[in-house]
Structures are given as structure tokens and as C-alpha cells.
Symmetry: C2
Subunit: 220 residues, 2 copies
């Protein structure tokens, strides 16, 4: 069978910078669209990658130096018109990393707010939109936003991460009641001492319950 199909993987890496959801973009080195900002992605390497998830991990490590973030398959975009080189398949993944985990930025990498994002090549705007929609939706009934925070964090920081992802404010009391139901957090010894007020307890994600799911939605 003569197929000549291009198989690529694209990754939507999201993080929180200054209270906004931002997406990682890289400057394309090769044609097509050389020099343009686009999602990190690349060909599947048949010899090197066991499956598409491995390709996604490799792409993230090579282009952004990120090693083992939260990484989930988003969906697959395909067709004859999305890539000028021909009929292509892009298996899209999304990754969530803590704010600041991308510290030493190369000049070929940047972060942009997902709201009001510039025009991107290929169908990358659609892919970003799909990723943001997925994360927003899943934030409503899971612990996903916790992956946007550093190793340890206060409950207020966690609530802010949720609010920044889903775009609304949450009630402190109700939020903490929900968290209590699916104990995916464990307190650590230290406490956060910032400013002239009562210090907050620090928590981290329990190793045995990385991704916890709420029974019902978080906000109506």
C-alpha cells in the first residue's frame, strides 16, 4: 500500500505565569513555516520511539528540557490540508508543568497567554484550543490543576490554580470541603511564612493518588 503519510506528534505544554495560563511555543528551525512560532513537535522516529507517547516525551525534552511532566494524549488531527507537505497525522498531547519549571529559557522558546493567542502555523490554534478546553473541563472534576504547582504548595495557591484554569472564582470553604473528600493531598512539615500574617500549611500530592477524580463537578 502506497501511503506516504506524515506522522508527527505535537505537544501543548501549559503552565501558569503571573496568574495566566500560558502555552509553550518554539521557533521553527525547518520548513515549512521556518522562523515562525509554533507548538513543539516532530516526526515520529521509528527506530527510536516505542510509541507516540515516547515521541512526545522526546520532543519535550529536546525542545524544552522538560523531563517527566504530566502528559496525556489529547486527540489526533489529520487530513490532506493541515500540512503543506501532504496528508498528515498529528497525534497531539498536552503537558502540565509547574510555574517556573521552565526557568532558563533559550531564545528559540517562548511562552504566550492562551487567551488572545497569535495566529499559529498549521492547525496549531485548533490544537491549543482543544487542549485548553480539555484542561478546563477536566479541572472541574479532577486534581489536574495541582500539576501546575511546584512540589509543595498552600491550599490558597491550589485554589488560585483552579481559578486560573477554569476562569472563575471559587468559594474557599466549599473548595476545601471538596478537597477533603478525595484526599490526594498530604501535609508536609514546613509551613509557608510570607508576609505579616498567619503562615499556611504546605501540602504535596500523595504519590499513590496522582490524578484524583471528583464525583461531581467542582463549580456549577
Amino acid at each position: 500500500v502506497e501511503q506516504k503519510i506524515i506522522a508527527t506528534v505535537d505537544v501543548v505544554l501549559l503552565t501558569i505565569i503571573e496568574d495566566r495560563l500560558e502555552v509553550l511555543l518554539v521557533k521553527r528551525a525547518a520548513e515549512p513555516f521556518a522562523g515562525r512560532w509554533a507548538l513543539p513537535g516532530g516526526y515520529v522516529h521509528v527506530e527510536e520511539d516505542g510509541d507516540a507517547l515516547a515521541t512526545a516525551r522526546r520532543v519535550l525534552e529536546q525542545k524544552a528540557g522538560i523531563v517527566s511532566p504530566y502528559l496525556e494524549q489529547l486527540c489526533t488531527f489529520s487530513g490532506h490540508s493541515r500540512d503543506p507537505r501532504g496528508w498528515s497525522v498529528s497525534i497531539a498531547y498536552f503537558a502540565l508543568v509547574p510555574r517556573g519549571a521552565l526557568a532558563p529559557q533559550k531564545s528559540s522558546v517562548c511562552l504566550q497567554a492562551v487567551d488572545g493567542l497569535a495566529q499559529l502555523p498549521f492547525d496549531h490554534n485548533r490544537i491549543v484550543d482543544a487542549a485548553v478546553a480539555r484542561v478546563r473541563s477536566k479541572a472541574g472534576y479532577s486534581s489536574l490543576p495541582a500539576f501546575l504547582l511546584p512540589e509543595t504548595f498552600t491550599l490558597t495557591e491550589l485554589q488560585q490554580a483552579y481559578e486560573q484554569v477554569i476562569g472563575t472564582t471559587l468559594d474557599k470553604s466549599a473548595f476545601r470541603r471538596k478537597l477533603g473528600l478525595l484526599d490526594f493531598l498530604e501535609p508536609v512539615k514546613n509551613r509557608s511564612r510570607t508576609g505579616k500574617h498567619r503562615p499556611a500549611q504546605l501540602f504535596r500530592i500523595r504519590k499513590d493518588r496522582r490524578l484524583a477524580l471528583f464525583g461531581r463537578t467542582l463549580a456549577s
Copy 2:
């Protein structure tokens, strides 16, 4: 770039037969696994198919004669070990069709209950499991199971479809209250006259709200 990647589409077509969820299988005509029952699937035809969704529609029409069912992308399975021919990508879709829409069966086609399904070639068992999990999950907060019923149906039949998909019984009163909230149904003139009891009102899905979503889950 020398990729030599096999790009295929596989479809998990689900329907309800005798109160059970069943999946459509076809007898493979070509190697590998010729003669074995497997999911309907096929190569992406670069000249013929605009995108992978078009491939899925073509496969369903050619192998099962189904024209425009509910069809949704499931996820993508990939890797060097899932197909003996080499590194492959299978973009999986699932379809929901009314019971009995598959009436004139060819001998190369069969239906099998999804619970206790036999061993299938490739990673097709994983794909079926993923499809069933998706449908079960989505049934909890959407009108998906309505696509398993014929054009018109009674509320009792709709409730049974939900029960067969999610595998538990539902309360009649609570179920109808939920339906009232997201009016995706409209009554039709006729009523169902079967047996010696009060006839039931028939309904159909409103054209403008094909897939409606519940705010919260259907059953706890």
C-alpha cells in the same frame, strides 16, 4: 525523512442487542490475521479520504453498510509492537447505532457482547475496552445512549438504554426529572401500543440538540 509508518483507522461500532451492549466485528480478508474476527478498519486512503474521520465513515459503509451513525474520535494507538507489519498508528473511532440497524448481516460480519469478549488480534481488545469505558462514562452526563435507539422511542426504552450502557438500574422518577432539565427530546404524535396496558408517549431527539450534556452526573 524515512518513516514507513502504517496509518489505519479502526472503528468500534456499538449497539444494543437483547439488553446487552454488543460490538461489531468483521472477518479479516487479508493478512495479517486473515480469517480472524477483528474490528472493522483499514488503511487511510490518501487520495480518497479528506481526513481520518472520512476514513472511518468509508470503513463503516464498506464493511457494515452503515451510513451516518453517531461517530466520535476515541483516541490513537501507536507503536512498533501492535502490528506485525511494523510501526503503526491506529486512529480509533467509536460509533453508536440503533439496535436492528444492522439487519441484513453478511456472513463476514458478526456482533458480540462487549462483556466477556473473545481474544481479538492486534490490540483490538484494548480499543474496545477504551470505547466502552468512554461510552459508559459519557452516558453519565450526556444524551449519548439515545443514539442506540431507533428514531422514536418511549421514555422507558430510553431509560433501559441508559441502564444497559452504565450497567446499573436507575430510578424512573429521578430519570425523567433529569430529562426534563435538558429538553433534547420532543414528543411525536403516535404512541406505543404494545400489550395490555396504558400506551406510552413516543419521543425523538430534537434535531437542534443532538448531543446534550447534563450538568451533573446521572447516577451517583
